[in-house]
Symmetry: C2
Subunit: 155 residues, 2 copies
DNA sequence: CATTTAGTTCATTTTATATTGAACTTATTG
DNA sequence: CAATAAGTTCAATATAAAATGAACTAAATG
């Protein structure tokens, strides 16, 4: 602990940071490593060694991150190892996984509202407003993404 | 389990739903109850009884939800109990707590990028792009909220 | 001022989640 | 085709998070 390098310190901080977003700390650490390392190639084993964790944990967390498209795998000719890198392709991913649930959020609120006997009650109206907000989001979020994409293209 | 009412079933589903957003299941259950109940007044004790949970757990979860502004407390003259209701004032709350972290996200990415020796590397540029995306969000999200607010006013 | 009410606090226990590590699979190399 | 390499799987274990429940506080009531 006393002699942590800047990289090690950073890795731990990113781990804690992503934990707040519902990722496992180890997933966050892997992201931290891939984000901050200067190595151009980072293999499975490199991760195991750098993070001093078990193969099982690294395997599970890498596959989770791949599924979320937060990292990418790449191969090198004549080398049987897999390498991993941080992905900025899916810069939306963490936000998406929370916000693209809008449809589901809406449904759970609608179901709640259907349980009300009095459809004219203040409560029913309040919840209806929340549902409308999610309708609004469903419409606006894709626009926001498009806006970002076109900004990126035009520089 | 076999004889759960529609309300009970709904409460459990909302609990599970909010769990995905990083809330404790019990917090989700409370939200589910407040959302779906037809009772106009729901007290601390009502919640303890309906959710069949301990006072300690309900106390902790209510205070968490109050802090997040997901629920509101109200009082009734001549009655020493506190009552709680679902709040739609802070319809943004769950999103906010994730997204208003943009500033912090940006900082952790910037710190990662500072560790790079080669500021011209592809990786450095990729991460810079992520940082730009968060700049973009910091600018756009407040606009989105304003848009919703004005939509609400004009009906 | 003793008693009830409404809720809080916090040490203990329960439950859920993540990690480990050994055994396994699948592919590659000599 | 034996041996190594690169990971995967999964039961056991460790860690972290949440719930319990008993003891407590603070306010109100009789």
């Amino acid at each position: 602990m006393d002699y942590m390098t800047a990289l090690e310190k950073y890795i731990e901080d990113v781990g804690l940071f992503y934990e707040r977003f519902g990722l496992a700390k180890m997933s966050g650490r892997i992201l931290g490593l891939l984000m901050a390392t200067d190595e151009e190639k980072v293999s499975f084993d490199d991760i195991v060694i750098q993070l001093q964790a078990s193969k099982g944990s690294i395997s599970g967390n890498i596959n989770f991150l791949l599924k979320q498209k937060l990292i990418e795998k790449f191969m090198v000719t004549g080398d049987r190892k897999s390498y991993y890198k941080f992905s900025n392709e899916n810069v939306f991913s963490l936000i998406d996984s929370k916000l693209d649930a809008t449809e589901y959020v809406k449904q759970i609120f609608m179901r709640g509202n259907e349980l009300h006997k009095d459809k004219e009650s203040a409560k029913h109206k309040n919840i209806s407003e929340v549902i409308q907000f999610y309708d609004f989001l469903e419409e606006e979020l894709p626009k926001l993404k498009e806006k970002w994409k076109s900004l990126k293209k035009t520089g």
